[in-house]
Point group: C2
Chain length 146, copies 2
């Protein structure tokens, strides 16, 4: 589990090097990484270009399936409500995330998307995996920007 | 306002003709439609390819801006939590929607995204515009499929 998170952290770092908020994700199916994502909001002028959304879209396109029932998504930060709902739509089996996000998260904070009556699928969720590494990346990024 | 919704309904109908759940959207800026969207989940094998998300992404790409502060989105159905959060990220000025969606909506139902402490922008919202036409499209679509 930590090996996949290490790959997600590498995506986050690559994003930061390109001027993006450092958040990264990998989508794992049958032990293999089938898709990767990093924040691309600035580069693509796309407010929806979060690491999770891009990894899900890439994985679904690759497999030519709108649902990814056996896949696990590893992401360095607790997903926002948009990405949490996308995870539910994609019917992901499992979500593993790094740092918790009390200000913008939508899984353990705010709307707690998977617990809403309007949410028709809830993945297994594991939070706090390599939490400190993910949080440090974000902190350092915003410190440099100030 | 109803003229733009008529255009969104045309997008929804075009989606239905292609086998998609009939939901359509148009993005309006300065009185002009700058982007359009229709559900493409089936065609694109993309669980995130909702009309709203596609219209926002197309508009932001066209204007080369991640935020669309002066834009209004017209969509035939109350946005889901994913699309509502995307609307907040895009900083849209206004959201106009047609039918209400008690089962899957995220604006006036479920997580009520714009009222969450984790939501940092709330557009002006007008619901129920050409509500019956939008609801009829969806009802007819699902009736045929059964």
């Amino acid at each position: 589990m930590t090996a996949y998170m290490t790959e997600a952290l590498a995506e986050a770092r690559a994003g930061a090097a390109a001027g993006e908020v450092p958040i990264g994700a990998v989508l794992v199916l049958g032990g293999e990484i089938v898709a990767r994502g990093q924040n691309r909001v600035e580069r693509d002028h796309d407010p929806t270009a979060h690491a999770e959304l891009l990894a899900i879209r890439a994985g679904a396109r690759l497999l030519e399936q709108k649902r990814l029932e056996r896949a696990t998504l590893y992401v360095t930060l607790e997903p926002c409500p948009m990405c949490a709902q996308a995870i539910a739509f994609a019917r992901l089996k499992k979500l593993v995330f790094g740092a918790y996000d009390p200000k913008g998260g939508g899984v353990d904070h705010g709307p707690r998307i998977f617990q809403q009556p309007t949410c028709h699928h809830s993945p297994e969720v594991v939070g706090g995996v390599q939490e400190l590494a993910a949080a440090r990346l974000l902190r350092d990024f915003f410190k440099e920007r100030r």
